[in-house]
Symmetry: C2
Subunit: 354 residues, 2 copies
Amino acid sequence: MTDHLVEGVLAGDRRAIARTISLIEDNGAEAQATLAALHPHTGRAHIVGVTGPPGSGKSSLVNALALYFRRGATGERGEGGSPKTVGIIAVDPTSPFSGGAILGDRIRMRDLAGDPGIFIRSMASRGSLGGLAWATADAVKVLDAAGFELIFIETVGAGQAEVDIARTAHTTVVVEVPGLGDDVQAIKAGILEIADIFAVNKADHEGADHAVMALRMMLDLDLGGTATVLHHGRLMEVVRTVTGGEEPPSQGPLPPARPSAWRPPIFKTIATRHEGVVDLATAILAHRAYLEQSGQLVQRERERAAAELETIIQQESLRRVLACAQGEKLAALIDRIVRREIDPYTASQHLLGG
Amino acid sequence: MTDHLVEGVLAGDRRAIARTISLIEDNGAEAQATLAALHPHTGRAHIVGVTGPPGSGKSSLVNALALYFRRGATGERGEGGSPKTVGIIAVDPTSPFSGGAILGDRIRMRDLAGDPGIFIRSMASRGSLGGLAWATADAVKVLDAAGFELIFIETVGAGQAEVDIARTAHTTVVVEVPGLGDDVQAIKAGILEIADIFAVNKADHEGADHAVMALRMMLDLDLGGTATVLHHGRLMEVVRTVTGGEEPPSQGPLPPARPSAWRPPIFKTIATRHEGVVDLATAILAHRAYLEQSGQLVQRERERAAAELETIIQQESLRRVLACAQGEKLAALIDRIVRREIDPYTASQHLLGG
């Protein structure tokens, strides 16, 4: 079964891809085996996160970008460089209870339907803390292994879930709209730190120039040439104490010269009219080139691998503990915690045998 | 050191409380020992989550509620029932990178300063996925053990982090404002499922009645008497297969009659003028009574204990693995994952020795 799925995904079979992502959403052991088998075939795609507030037109923008990369600016196939295959994963972390994604798959299908070089999937959280971010990262792996060259992850908002998802992307595009909230709000949202590229969409609305100016001012104030600084899990901390934080990657020679730090460009777009989309698409490819030349691509890959390994260790440890413990014993233990007869740390020691 | 802190917290010493919460934010082993020692002294506070979009006036509303519970509606101490001690934890999950909380502690201190029956603390995420939710839950424990009777957790937005935080509260108040987004947006936010009480704040603004009506309609459509359904971790699933999902709590007799399901009430408030605050405060106490009488309080406590135990097992397992593995070995393993020579699942098996 796993072999069959793996073969299907590697061959680009759409039903196999869809079925594998469903397995990931269900978080089963079968998904693990499939992902393990797919892992050697990943690492080729460029992963682009697109996030922004509700109503900012992210979906339209991702559609326009996908169409451009498939067909060129005017819809003629092959224009604007060779067409790239495109995967889109639309994430709705704001509705963890609904058990199904709400975003308008059917609407966007009208634009993009029938093109075998495009795969679209919506995902919503079914699981526990942080689960959606990892399910998304795993779904990206599937599309990567299936050979999609550009993979868009589209998320709503600017909360913890979006930031976690941004960590799995190579390039993060933050979409703003004119007149939505004040400048301070954007700072509070912590979104500056994760943006590689800004798009002020709906640029025909009043206040577009003001929004661009406000973003530029904030970039000048806050990001004076600093590279993206992300917090890491404990595993990466242990590794860092050995390798040193900013060490060059251990495999292969360093690129000849380190380019100056990336300064997030800001574009005005009108996604519904496909205006500004060429510039935005070009910036995405330029950011990829920057990551490769600066050595940051490998560094991001290492950080992602460390975070992923950490999560897998935690999940696998829990699975082993639950496989050993009896349900009755666990229920009794939880009742004792609720009655304050035992604290959860001591209870954990009992279960782990330490 | 731990003993000293524990004694201090139990005595209500403010410096000991602040120091313990700082330890929790640093996620050290010392915090664990302190929390374990505090656990038997928790379980008395009523925990109220307050969430809503930026600019909805949550902080002002929490301040007004705190003042009411301390001093009564007109600021006279003792009015409206005996005064309760109040803890406030202001969470800013939208800025996981800032390393410090942004919310206006100093501003609110002016209203509430000098009252030993009030403790206020801001928290921001420093850690990994879902870390903030658990740090918040642990900080609540500290205030609970210190004897605060009512604890407010204030969060911004409606993303995964807010929902996770809502799971740690007994009563969740969702704050909306007139004219902010359309009705569909509120549904998309998945916020209906977590709300026990609604407050339409800034009710003097245009559209307040419309907002109340829209919320009422959505409640009629979507929540036809269903109790709060939360997703659970794997540990709770194992327990459920034994005890049955809706079993009565195993300790003590059942309450005589099960009251009908809670229907979230909707209040119009103007926090800055303290209007509507008495009704809101009364509803919070009524919801507590409902939880106790319906047996849901114990059920929520069990679910929370199970989720907490699950998290501790995962963290402790990771700690043990990292304590055994050498940094060099981990760094090499991560490089092999990045080079696709090994997949992270197999790497995890190596580290766990399976």
